[in-house]
Symmetry: C2
Subunit: 819 residues, 2 copies
C-alpha cells in the first residue's frame, strides 16, 4: 500500500502527518499514534540519534522512530535540553469514535502546543525552585535590550545594556532559551557570550525584531493604542519585549495566558556582578556545575518554590539602595528576635503550593482538579498566615500582610466544590462534591444505589442456579457479566450466553442489562455535570487572578525574609551596616560555604580610605583564596538584605563587584588558562570605579617570572591610582609587597604559619606584614611525595637561596649530592 | 474517618500502604492511586523537598504528595539521580474489578520492582550509548575487589586491585551506584574517592560481604556446587561478585534475568590510565562536565548503541597487548582500504536496535510486541551484514562473521507473527498476524465483518426513521448507541432509550445489542489469543538468547572497527606501529579534539632511549598544553587499536599513563589547587615505571618562586633517574632547562614565536632550545588591558631585567616615571 514518491502514494496516516509537519517547520513533530508519539522522515533520523533510540521504517521508504507516551516527558526533556523545539500532535478522538464516521476514517489529530526550552509549562520538566526564562536580545545602535520572561510564573522584565555588560546580564538572568536576530548571532562578542552560556538559541531574521512591528504586537496583546501608559520604554526595549511576546504567542498556539506588563529594571538600582565574578564566586553552582557547594545551597532556607525563586532573583540582582536594604534588614531582624513567630510562619508556608505556576495553568484552562485543590490549599495557607502576622508591626511586613488580600469567599467555594480525596481519579469523575448541585446529587445517589442492587441481583442468581461461586464481574470489553464455572450448565432461559473461556462461562440477562444501563447513563451524566461545574469554578478563579498573584508575591517575599532570619540564627550571622559611605570593614568574617564543612578561622578586613588595597601573601593551603572569596560573598549577602557571616560589618554600597579568583581553562574553545585570566583582569581595569569592590587572586601567575611580576605590579598600580576601588589582592610573589611599597594606600598582610617540631601548622590567621616562605615543599610532603624527592627539593631550595635565585648566573650546573 | 494514632484507625488505603512500606524500608514507596503515584508520611516530606512538589495532607495527620503517572518517569529520573531508591507499587486490578469483589473492596496493590541508579532497566531513564554500571567494592586484607555489572546489557566483570589504584578503577568504570560495606565507607582514602565520584552509594553491614555467604549466593544463582568451574576467583573477587548479585536480586524482586558468568579482567592486559589523567585528558567529558569537547565526542562514529558502549569500554581499558592491538588495526585497515564495504556495512548497522537491552527485557518477560519487532529487525540486519561480509578475508572479521550465528528460522517466525505497523496499539490487540493461527483468523474475520454489518444497520435505521443524520456511535461508558437529534422523536418500539443530552438523544435496539455482543466477544477473544501467541514467541526467543547475545557482541565489535576506520579516513589518521619496544616517536602529531575547531600546526616528538624526557618552554597561547595532551591522547588511541592523528607513529606498549595538566580546584572540598596538583604529581612519582608515559604541565606553579622551582627540579630529576619513564614536561621557569642540564637524557624544546612589526606571531611550532621570553604582556594586550597599564608593565619588565629579578635587593623602591 505504501509507495515512495508522490504524496498521494503515501498512506492516509503519512499524508496527515505531512500536512501537519508542513505547518511546523523547524520543530520536531511528535505525532500521536496510539500509545506512542511517532516521528517520521528527517525528524525520525534526528531524534533517533539524539535520544539513541532505534530508527525503523513504516513500510519501505518512510524512516520512523517513536517513544511511548507514558515516558514521553523524559524523552521530551532530553530533546528540550539539547535545544530542540517539539510540536506535540495529539489524537483529538478515539479510534472507535473515528471508525463510526466511516469504516476507514482517520483519527482527527492536531498540534496542541509547541514545547521550547524557554516556554516550558509542563510541571515535570520545570525546576520548581528555578525560574525558567526565555530571554530576547535586541540591538539599536550602541544600545542592547534584554527582555526576559518566565511564562510559567508570570514574570516579564526588560532592561537596556551596553555591549561590555551583556555577558554579565545574560549570566545573571541564566535564560534557558535566547531569542536573537541572525545578524547579532554572528557578531563576534555575542557569539562568544553564546558559546559561554550554552542556552538554546533561537534566531529569526532582522525584520522580526523591527521596533514598529514589536510596538504593534505589544499594543495588540495589551489592548492599548500606545505603549506610553505601560512605562517609559526605549526603542531597544520595545523591540526586545515585542519580539519576545510574538515568539511566545506562536509557541502557545494563541492560547496565551494574560501577560503582565513588562517591568523595566534599571541599572542604577542594583549591584552589577561581573561575569567573571558570577562564575568564580559560585553563587548558583560550582564551577563543575553542581548545586551542592554553591552559595545558594547554603543560604536558601525557603520553604516554598515561590520564595526559592525570589531569593535567586535577589542574588542575581542585589539592591544598591541603602533604604531598600535596611527595610529588608529590619524585617529579617524582627524574625530573628521573634523566633516563635518565625517558626510558626515557616510551618504555615511549608504547605503553600506553587501558586504562580498553578495560576498560569488556570489562565490557559489547562488546569486539573488537583491544581484547583492546591490553589485552595494555598488560599487557606495565606489566610492562616494573615492571622499569624496580625501581631506584627514592622512596616515592610505590614505592607506584605496587606497584599495577602481577601480570598475567604473563593476559598469557601473551592473547598465546598472539590472533593480533595478524589482528585487523583479526576478522569473517572467523582471529584465534585454532589452537595453543590441538586441534579448531581440525584444522579450520584442513583449510581451508588445501583451498586447495592447489583449485589442483590448476584445473590438472587446464586439462589436461582444453586452456584455459590457465581459472580457478577466487569471488564472494559464486555461490561458487566455473570461468570460461572464451565462445569455448570445454566439452563434457565433468562441467561444469554456471551463468551466461553477455558474454565468459565460468561452470560448476561435482561435485568442485568437494564441495571447496567442505569449505571452507565448515570456515570456518563456525572462526568458531564462535573466538567461543567469545574469550568465554572475556574472562571471564578480567573476573576481574582490578579489579586491572587499579588498575594503569591507577598508569600514569596515573606518566605525570603523568614529564610534569611533562619539563616542568620542557624549560622550565626550579624546585621551589617550598609550606607552611602566608602567603608568596607568586616570583623571576624567567615566564608559562608566553607565554614559549613570545616572548623573555620575568622578574619578581619578594613579597606578604609587610606587602606583601600590589601595585599596578601602566604603559603598555599593557608586560606588566601577562601579569604578573598568570603569578602566578595559577604558584600553580596549584605546587598540582598541578608545578615552576614561575621562579628560585625560596615559596608558602603557597592556599584560593581569584580573577582578574578579560581582557575578555569577551556582548551577546546581555544583559550589558555592564562588568556582567560588576563581577559577577566582586563574587564576589571576597564570597568571598575571608586565604588567597586575588586577581588584579585594570583595576578600574573601562569607566565614567566619576569613578565608575570611586571603585570601584577602594573595591575595593582592601576587599581590603586586610577580606579581607586576597594580591593583585596593575593599573590605568590613574596617580593611584590616590597616592590609596591611606593603605593601609599596598600597594606600588606600574610597568612600566619607556625613551625613546631618540624611540623607546619596552618593557622588560617591573617596578620600584618609579608610572608617570608611559601611552604610549597611542605605541601608536597602532605600530598605524598617520596622522601628522596623532598630531600632533593630542600637541597635545591638552599642552593637557590644562597645563589640568589634562578635568575642569577646559571653557569655552574648544580651537582647532585645524593642520588 | 481518618484518625491519627494506632494503625487500625487509618483508612483501608493507608493501612494497605503502611503494610507495603514496612516491607520496603530504605526505599521511597510510589503508591499507585488512580492516575497518580502518591507518597505518604516521611516519604512525602522527603520527596516534596527533593522534587519541589507541594506537600499536602490526606485527611488530618497524613502528609501526602504525588506525581501524575504520565510524567512519573521524569520525576523518577530526578529521584534516582539524587541517589534515592524507589519501590514502585502498582494497582493489580481496576477499580471496577475490585468493586465486584465487594462494595468497598480495596484494589489489590503490590510492589513490582525497586528502581535504583545502578539497576535501572527503564529505557527512558537509561542512556543508550552509556553502560549503566552497578559496582561493588569488597576488601580482604590488602586486596580490594571491584565487581561491576550492567544489568540492562548483560555485562558482569570483576577485578582485584590495590588501594592506590582504586581511584583510577572506579573512575574508568564510572558506576552509577556503588555497593560498599559500612566499614569501607568510613575509611579515609575511600571516603575521598567516593566524594570525588559522586555516584550513589549503597552501604550494607560487613556481614553482607562475607566470602562464604557470597559463594553460596553465586552457587545458587548459577546452579553449581563450586565456583571452580566458572573461573579462578580470589576471595575478594568472590565477595564482590556475590554481594553484587545478592543486591540485584532483591531489587528485581527475584525476577532476575539469567546472568552471565563474571569475567575476570586482569590488570596486565590493559593500560592503566591514572585517575588524574582520566580527569585531565577529558576522555569522556570535559572538566566542566560536558560531552561536547571530549575525546569520545570526536572519535565515536559508531552507528549502534551497542558499538558506542563497547568503544567506551575500550577507551576505559585500552589493551596493552601488541597482538590484540595489531589484529584490530588490521581490521580497521581493511575497512580504510575498502571504503565501499565500510559504508555499506555502516548503512546496514544503522538500523540495528539495542539487542542487549531488548534481550534483557525478554528474559524478564517485560518485553512489548514492539521489542520483539525490533529484535526481528536486528536479526534481519545481522543476516544482511553476514551477506555483505562474505567477501572479507581478514581473520578478525571472519571470526566476527562466524559469531553472527544462524537466526533465519527465528527471524521468519517473528516477521510472520508480529504485524509491524500495529505494535503501537498493542494494548488493543491486532499486532499478531491472524494467518499464524486458525482460530485467531476466524475471530478476526467475524470482527471485521461485524463492522460492515454495523454500517448496514445504520442505513436500515435511517430508512426506517427517515432521519438522515442518524448515526451509530461508540463511547467507553455506553458502548455502541444510536444518536439522533433531540428534535426528532423515535416512535418505533424497537428503540430503547438510554440517555438524553441537550441536543441529542441516545437509544439502543435488541439487534444493535446483539451485534455489539458479537463484536465485544470477538474482541475479547482476540486479545486473549494474541497474548497467548506472544508469550509463546518470547519463550522461543529465549531458547536462542545466548547465541543472539554473541551476535550482538559481534555487531558491537564490527561497529567499533568500522567507526575507527571512518574516523581514520575522515580525520586523516595513520596506523601507528605498536610493539614491545620503548619507543615513543610521533611525526606530525595533532590534538584530535582541538584540530576539529582551529587550523592546527602538527608537531613531532621522539622520546627515544637517550632522549626520554622532553622539557618544553615557551610563552602562553603558544600551545604547550595542547602539545602535552595530544601525545597522551595519541598514546591512548594507539592502544585501543585506533589509527592516530599524525603522519607516522611508533609506540612501544605503555603500562600506565599519567598526566598532570590543566587546572582544577575544589575549594568546598577544602583542597587548594596547589594541593590537588601536588597529590597528582605524587601519584606519578610513586607509581610510574620505565614502561609508563608521563605528561607534566607546569610542575611547581602556584607557589613561591624558590620552592616551586626546587620542587620542579626535584620532580624532573626523580623521573629521569628513578622511574625512567618516557616523559614530556612543560614549564614557565625558563631557567629550568639550564639548571637541569646535568640530566643527560633531557632534551629542551620551545614553542616558536616571531615578532614582526611590533606584532607577536604564535607559530605553534616546536623547535630545539630554550625560549627566552614569556610574552605575558603581549597576551594581556590581546585580552584588552588599558594602554597605560601595558606601558607600566613593560617599564617594570625592563627595570627587573636590569636589576636581576625580583629576588635581588629590593632596597630601592621603584619610582614611577609616568602616572
Amino acid at each position: 500500500m505504501v509507495k515512495v514518491g508522490d504524496n498521494t502514494e503515501y498512506t492516509p496516516i503519512i499524508r496527515q502527518y505531512k500536512s501537519l509537519k508542513d505547518q511546523y517547520e523547524g520543530c520536531l513533530l511528535f505525532y500521536r499514534l496510539g500509545d506512542f508519539y511517532e516521528l517520521f522522515f528527517d525528524d525520525a533520523i534526528v531524534v533517533s540519534r539524539a535520544l539513541d533510540i532505534v530508527l525503523t521504517k513504516r513500510g519501505p521508504g518512510t524512516p520512523m522512530c517513536g517513544v511511548p507516551t507514558h515516558s514521553a516527558d523524559s524523552y521530551l526533556g532530553k530533546l528540550i535540553k539539547l535545544g530542540h523545539k517539539v510540536a506535540i500532535c495529539e489524537q483529538l478522538e478515539t479510534v472507535e469514535e473515528a471508525r463510526k464516521r466511516g469504516y476507514r476514517a482517520l483519527v482527527k489529530r492536531d498540534v496542541v502546543r509547541i514545547v521550547t526550552p524557554g516556554t516550558l509549562l509542563e510541571d515535570g520538566l520545570l525546576e520548581a525552585s528555578e525560574n525558567n526564562y526565555l530571554a530576547c536580545l535586541s540591538n539599536v545602535g550602541d544600545n542592547y535590550g534584554v527582555a526576559w520572561m518566565d511564562l510559567s510564573a508570570g514574570i516579564f522584565n526588560v532592561r537596556s545594556s551596553r555591549l561590555e555588560n551583556l555577558d554579565s546580564e545574560i549570566q545573571r538572568i541564566r535564560p534557558r532559551e535566547l531569542l536573537i536576530s541572525d545578524r547579532l548571532k554572528e557578531q563576534g562578542e555575542i557569539e562568544l557570550i553564546l558559546r559561554r552560556h550554552r542556552c538554546a538559541v533561537t534566531s529569526h531574521s532582522e525584520s522580526f525584531f523591527d521596533v514598529k512591528r514589536a510596538e504593534k504586537v505589544l499594543c495588540g496583546i495589551y489592548g492599548v493604542n500606545t505603549l506610553r501608559g505601560l512605562g517609559n520604554f526605549t526603542d531597544v526595549e520595545v523591540s526586545a519585549c515585542g519580539s519576545l511576546v510574538e515568539y511566545v504567542r506562536t509557541t502557545q498556539k494563541n492560547n496565551l495566558p494574560k501577560l503582565c506588563y513588562p517591568k523595566v529594571c534599571d541599572n542604577k538600582s542594583c549591584v552589577l556582578i561581573d561575569g567573571g565574578a558570577l562564575r568564580n564566586l559560585e553563587l548558583f553552582c560550582t564551577q563543575s556545575g553542581e548545586k551542592e557547594g554553591s552559595l545558594i545551597s547554603v543560604i536558601d532556607k525557603t520553604v516554598t518554590a515561590l520564595g526559592s525563586r525570589l531569593l535567586k532573583r535577589h542574588l542575581s540582582f542585589p539592591s544598591s539602595c541603602p533604604h531598600v536594604i535596611s527595610s529588608r534588614q529590619d524585617a529579617v531582624e524582627f524574625f530573628v528576635e521573634n523566633r516563635n513567630v518565625c517558626e510558626n510562619i515557616r510551618d504555615i508556608m511549608r504547605g503553600i503550593p506553587d501558586v504562580e505556576r498553578i495560576l498560569t495553568r488556570v489562565k490557559m484552562l489547562r488546569c486539573s482538579p488537583r491544581d484547583v485543590c492546591m490553589l485552595g490549599k494555598a488560599l487557606a495557607g495565606i489566610l492562616r498566615l494573615r492571622q499569624a502576622m496580625l501581631v506584627v508591626d514592622n512596616p515592610m511586613l505590614v505592607r506584605i500582610v496587606g497584599e495577602f488580600g481577601e480570598h475567604e469567599k473563593l476559598l469557601k467555594l473551592i473547598s465546598g466544590t472539590i472533593l480533595e480525596n478524589n482528585v487523583s481519579h479526576a478522569r473517572d469523575g467523582g471529584f465534585i462534591n454532589p452537595m453543590c448541585n441538586a441534579r448531581l446529587a440525584t444522579v450520584v445517589r442513583i449510581e451508588s444505589e445501583s451498586d447495592k442492587l447489583m449485589q442483590n441481583l448476584r445473590d438472587k442468581y446464586r439462589k436461582l442456579t444453586g452456584i455459590g461461586s457465581l459472580k457478577i464481574a466487569f471488564n472494559s470489553v464486555l461490561g458487566y457479566y455473570i461468570e460461572t464455572p464451565a462445569s455448570y450448565k445454566l439452563k434457565d432461559a433468562i441467561f444469554i450466553h456471551r463468551q466461553s473461556l477455558a474454565h468459565t462461562m460468561r452470560h448476561t440477562t435482561a435485568e442485568l442489562r437494564e441495571l447496567e444501563e442505569t449505571i452507565t447513563a448515570a456515570k456518563s451524566e456525572i462526568i458531564e455535570l462535573e466538567a461543567q461545574i469545574f469550568r465554572g469554578l475556574c472562571l471564578r478563579i480567573l476573576e481574582e487572578a490578579q489579586s491572587i498573584e499579588l498575594a503569591a508575591n507577598a508569600v514569596a517575599e515573606l518566605d525570603v525574609l523568614v529564610s534569611l532570619a533562619r539563616l542568620a540564627v542557624e549560622n550565626k550571622y550579624v546585621r551589617p551596616i550598609v550606607d552611602d559611605s566608602r567603608e568596607f570593614a568586616v570583623k571576624g568574617g567567615r566564608h559562608p560555604v566553607v565554614e559549613m564543612g570545616v572548623r573555620f578561622i575568622a578574619n578581619d578586613v578594613n579597606l578604609s580610605e587610606n587602606n583601600k588595597m590589601w595585599l596578601i601573601t602566604g603559603p598555599n593551603m593557608a586560606g588566601k583564596s577562601t579569604f578573598l572569596r568570603q569578602n566578595a560573598l559577604i558584600a553580596i549577602l549584605a546587598h540582598i538584605g541578608s545578615f552576614v557571616p561575621a562579628e560585625s560589618a560596615h559596608i558602603g554600597v557597592i556599584d560593581k563587584i569584580f573577582s578574578r579568583v579560581g582557575a578555569s581553562d577551556n582548551i577546546a574553545l581555544g583559550y589558555s588558562t592564562f588568556m582567560v585570566e588576563m581577559a577577566e583582569t582586563a574587564a576589571i581595569l576597564n570597568q571598575a570605579t571608586d565604588r567597586s569592590l575588586v577581588i584579585l587572586d594570583e595576578v600574573g601567575r601562569g607566565t614567566g617570572i619576569h613578565d608575570g611580576f611586571s603585570i601584577a605590579l602594573a595591575v595593582i598600580e592601576h587599581i590603586h591610582d586610577v580606579t581607586r576601588s576597594r580591593a583585596i589582592c593575593a599573590t605568590h610573589y613574596h617580593e611584590l609587597p616590597k616592590f609596591s611599597s611606593y603605593l601609599k594606600n596598600v597594606q600588606c598582610f600574610y597568612m600566619k604559619i607556625e613551625e613546631w617540631q618540624g611540623q607546619v601548622v596552618f593557622l588560617h590567621e591573617l596578620v600584618t606584614g609579608v610572608s617570608g616562605k611559601s611552604y610549597g615543599i611542605y605541601v608536597a610532603e602532605l600530598a605524598g611525595f617520596p622522601k628522596n624527592v623532598l630531600e632533593r627539593a630542600r637541597f635545591f631550595m638552599e642552593e637557590l637561596g644562597e645563589s640568589g635565585g634562578p635568575n642569577l648566573n646559571p653557569a655552574s650546573p648544580m651537582e647532585r649530592t645524593n642520588s
